[in-house]
């Protein structure tokens, strides 16, 4: 399933040791499993329950998400630029599927 993701780094080029801010938003209903449809049937839970970010293959940040995270989950965090490489963001859905987005950092 194609999901729309917005990823933004506050800088794409950084000197070594500089902090880089990542902001990411992914379109997803984050269905809590507590809501009911018009017929009174519970709408099954379906959320993104895990998020992680790797820079150059190294895990720099991760999160376990609960249904109390808003729909279209947004996350903002920082990492220390050490070497150039891909910035990969992954969200894991309750159904086991993943949403993956990429960016790139150049370290001079």
């Amino acid at each position: 399933m194609a999901a729309e993701v917005k990823v933004k780094l506050d800088k794409t080029e950084a000197s070594k040791g500089e902090l880089v801010e990542v902001r990411a938003l992914v379109y997803h209903p984050m269905e809590t499993g507590l809501r009911k449809d018009e017929n009174g049937n519970i709408i099954p839970r379906k959320i993104l329950n895990k998020f992680f970010c790797k820079v150059g293959g190294q895990n720099v940040f991760s999160a376990d998400l609960e249904p109390a995270i808003s729909a279209n989950p947004y996350v903002r965090f920082k990492f220390k630029a050490m070497e150039s490489g891909p910035v990969t963001l992954t969200w894991v859905d309750d159904d086991g599927s993943t949403i993956i987005a990429h960016s790139e950092i150049t370290v001079s």
């Binding site: 040791g17 902090l19 269905e31 809590t32 499993g33 507590l34 809501r35 009911k36 009174g40 709408i43 839970r45 820079v55 190294q58 895990n59 720099v60 940040f61 991760s62 999160a63 376990d64 998400l65 609960e66 249904p67 109390a68 995270i69 808003s70 729909a71 989950p73 947004y74 996350v75 903002r76 965090f77 920082k78 990492f79 220390k80 050490m82």
Partner: protein
């Protein structure tokens, strides 16, 4: 209505009743006693009581829309190999379920800071607990007045 109502529930009931009838929310888990947030914190800290320092929890005093309340957490830490934040737990004491998120950090972050948006069912406290690499724990707590609660929150 049975009159086994705490002061807190009574205060929230007026607004809550309107929202609930409008949304057709038949069960009212949020108006029960504790949602178990104390146990979640205790499990996270290994039974230690966190000191109320070093954690800065930035939330609005009043949130018009409980579906998306902006939250930023920063922890005062040098984020070196010797001294860094490993995890931050966030719980809500008035949601149907206490858990909000757990964030995992390492020295690779350079700074212990995270921002996101959360669902709040009603006026309630948000509690952030930070765990350090030496096992020490710190916390911050903030009450947010919620005008319209996030519907269908868990």
């Amino acid at each position: 209505m049975e009159l086994t109502v705490s002061r807190r529930q009574a205060l929230t009931m007026g607004a809550g009743a309107v929202a609930v009838s409008a949304l057709g929310w038949s069960s009212l888990p949020a108006l029960a006693e504790s949602n178990g947030f104390e146990d979640v914190i205790s499990q996270f800290t290994g039974g230690k009581t966190p000191a109320e320092e070093r954690v800065n929890l930035d939330l609005p005093q009043i949130a018009d829309d409980g579906n998306a309340v902006p939250m930023t957490i920063t922890v005062d830490s040098p984020m070196t190999e010797e001294d860094h934040v490993t995890d931050i737990l966030v719980v809500a004491d008035g949601n149907p379920r206490p858990g909000v998120a757990t964030f995992h950090f390492s020295p690779a972050n350079g700074i212990a800071e995270v921002g996101t948006r959360i669902r709040m069912a009603q006026t309630e406290n948000i509690i952030a607990v930070a765990k350090m690499n030496d096992g020490s724990v710190f916390m911050a707590k903030k009450e947010v007045t919620v005008t319209v609660g996030g519907c269908g929150i868990a």
